[in-house]
């Protein structure tokens, strides 16, 4: 029954994703596209976090996706929807390599390694101007860019597909292995699960999804440069959205994405400049989220409905 309900929700949201952009004012399509890219990175980050892998390198995947799509589009004039394929493959390949070479690293060390690789990628993008245009960036040919409505529908569909993927992942038997890896990889290994396989698998999946977000942004804005494609802000929002919404849950990243996008729009409305206020709010969310509500908005909602705490996502903080 649950599976049927899941399918209905997924198909319903796909229809909405295809139809809604036609009826909404243009301002919304920008907003919705940003929302879908945010959901993509947040959900993919959450998949890795679910297996105990803290990624601080999601801007690396994003940038890889953005650059591969833009460069391939300019070189071969491939259409938007097709450019997603090589970008995803590259993201997955990079993710798999990252997981493979950092195979011996846990927790903190993995986080730092991902941060370093994404920064290394930024330096490469900056320093190989023959390929990437260097600091001047790359413009995507205007003639082959699709119109806004198509873009918005497409990115919303991708977001729905991503959430569906994480939903099915959370219902599959792999979920148990991944969740157990979060607590102890060696214990998982002792139970006959090969953690390396899951680690590579989940990082590749996460990388592929996060690079999609980069592809969307490259096409939507029509321009990328190393600073914006490998922006640390991407990594920051990728971790804030799941944390705010609810770590390790399917709905958490979606709820969190909507919430932080709304918050950032509000701060932009009230503090009319792009100065530090937006990021300050993000920082406060991180700090208070970790200290006060480690299970996020979804956790609060669940606790409101059921007094019994179910599957405490993050063990309660020590006294």
């Amino acid at each position: 029954m649950i599976a049927v309900r899941g399918w209905i929700i997924i198909l319903g949201s796909l229809v909405v994703a295809l139809v809604a952009p036609h009826f909404l004012p243009p301002g919304f399509s920008d907003w919705l596209t940003r929302l879908s890219t945010l959901i993509l990175v947040a959900a993919s980050w959450n998949m890795m976090a679910n297996a105990g892998l803290i990624s601080l390198g999601h801007s690396g995947f994003w940038g890889l996706g953005a650059y591969s799509a833009a460069l391939l589009a300019n070189a071969f004039h491939i259409p938007f929807w097709l450019s997603i394929v090589p970008a995803m493959l590259l993201g997955a390949f990079f993710g798999a390599c990252l997981a493979y070479i950092t195979g011996r690293l846990r927790g903190l060390f993995f986080a730092i390694a991902t941060l370093a690789t994404s920064e290394a990628l930024r330096v490469v993008a900056l320093m190989v101007p023959k390929l990437t245009g260097g600091a001047e960036g790359v413009f995507v040919f205007d003639q082959i860019r699709p119109d806004r409505i198509t873009m918005t529908s497409f990115s919303l569909c991708l977001a729905v597909a991503t959430v569906a993927t994480s939903y099915f992942l959370s219902r599959s038997r792999y979920q148990y292995a991944l969740r157990a890896m979060r607590d102890s990889e060696s214990a998982v290994q002792m139970l006959g699960v090969n953690p390396a396989r899951f680690r590579i698998g989940v990082t590749a999946l996460s990388g592929a999804i996060a690079s999609c977000a980069g592809v969307i942004t490259a096409w939507f804005t029509g321009y990328i440069d190393p600073g914006s494609a490998f922006d640390l802000k991407i990594t920051i929002s990728a971790q804030i959205a799941p944390l705010f919404g609810g770590l390790y849950t399917v709905t958490g990243p979606v709820v969190g994405s909507i919430a932080i996008l709304a918050l950032s729009e509000l701060t932009r409305l009230y503090f009319n400049y792009s100065g530090g206020v937006g990021l300050l709010v993000y920082g406060c969310i991180l700090v208070f989220g970790v200290l006060m509500m480690p299970s996020g908005l979804v956790g609060l909602w669940k606790r409101r409905r059921k007094p019994v705490v179910t599957d405490a996502a993050v063990p309660a903080r020590a006294k």
Partner: protein, 294 residues
């Protein structure tokens, strides 16, 4: 050619001093608490701003204000630890990463709001001075001072760790939390102390950076990443390892900046490449003992 090599050696040594300053606080805090402080770069930034305002409004030399800035940093770091990290010490590592990352964001953007993104710097006379050892070998005086202070700081820190009562307790906690606790050491108090000390190193570093680098709210992140690379190179919990790591990174960067075409741009990336390579080849670093499971 000989003078080029000599210049590279001189520059590497001087830069190594600067890098030692950046990393030693982070290394101390990690060695004791096993928490990587992602806000360390921003603490350095606050030290730099404190030194800047002391220089501009009170006309105090950064090398003099260093003392006060370090004391303020110690108090600030202690409070920061007590208010935030102390409450989630037993939570999974991901929470600590996210928390210190968030703290860094807050610190950085408060600075953006207060002081905008404009570049500032203190301008004591020695900041622009340099000595010519021969016709083509230059020693920048500001960096030489930073080098000297780095040596002094490290010697002081090592001496404190080795001979003082609190230093011994700090080392005990770093080596074995449970055993130290059984010996009657208040582990949490040592955590807070080492965190305060680490912040005090951070802000003191900032005061020195105030005449070496442009001061902006964004100066913290590059410093943080460099410091990561250094302490991972050297071994996370070893102060001596940190010094070695700092000089290794400095040598690699300087050599590439001089030898490779467009080397200055590439040198920015050296830290990341070295970091990834070390993490893969020897995750414990050159002198470190912390396994990869930390």
């Amino acid at each position: 050619m000989a003078s080029l090599i000599f210049q590279i050696v001189v520059d590497s040594l001087l830069l190594g001093g600067v890098y030692t300053l950046m990393a030693v606080g982070l290394s101390l805090a990690f060695g004791v608490t096993r928490i990587i402080n992602f806000a360390h770069g921003d603490i350095v930034m606050y030290g730099a701003y404190a030194a800047f305002f002391a220089f501009v409004s009170l006309n105090i030399d950064p090398l003099l204000s260093l003392l006060f800035v370090a004391i303020l940093g110690a108090i600030g770091g202690y409070l920061l630890f007590k208010l935030t990290l102390d409450r989630i010490l037993d939570a999974p590592g991901i929470n600590q990463v996210l928390l210190t990352f968030g703290l860094g964001l807050v610190l950085q953007n408060v600075a953006v709001i207060l002081w905008t993104g404009d570049e500032r710097s203190t301008t004591p006379s020695y900041a622009f001075d340099s000595w010519f050892l021969s016709d083509d070998i230059v020693v920048a005086k500001g960096r030489l001072i930073a080098f000297g202070l780095a040596v002094a700081f490290v010697v002081l820190l090592l001496a404190w760790l080795r001979w003082s009562e609190l230093g011994r307790a700090t080392r005990a906690v770093s080596q074995n939390r449970a055993a130290a606790s059984l010996m009657g050491i208040n582990v949490r108090a040592m955590y807070a102390l080492s965190f305060g000390l680490s912040s005090s190193f951070g802000t003191a570093t900032g005061a020195i950076m105030s005449f070496l680098l442009p001061i902006t709210p964004f100066m913290g992140f590059p410093i943080l990443v460099k410091a990561f690379a250094i302490i991972i190179l050297g071994g996370l919990d070893s102060i001596v390892g940190t010094v070695i790591g700092a000089f290794l990174l400095a040598t690699a960067e300087t050599t590439i900046a001089y030898v490779v075409p467009q080397g200055i741009g590439w040198a920015e990336g050296v830290a990341f490449f070295l970091l990834v390579i070390v993490l893969i080849v020897r995750p414990t670093g050159i002198l470190g003992t912390v396994g990869r499971d930390a």
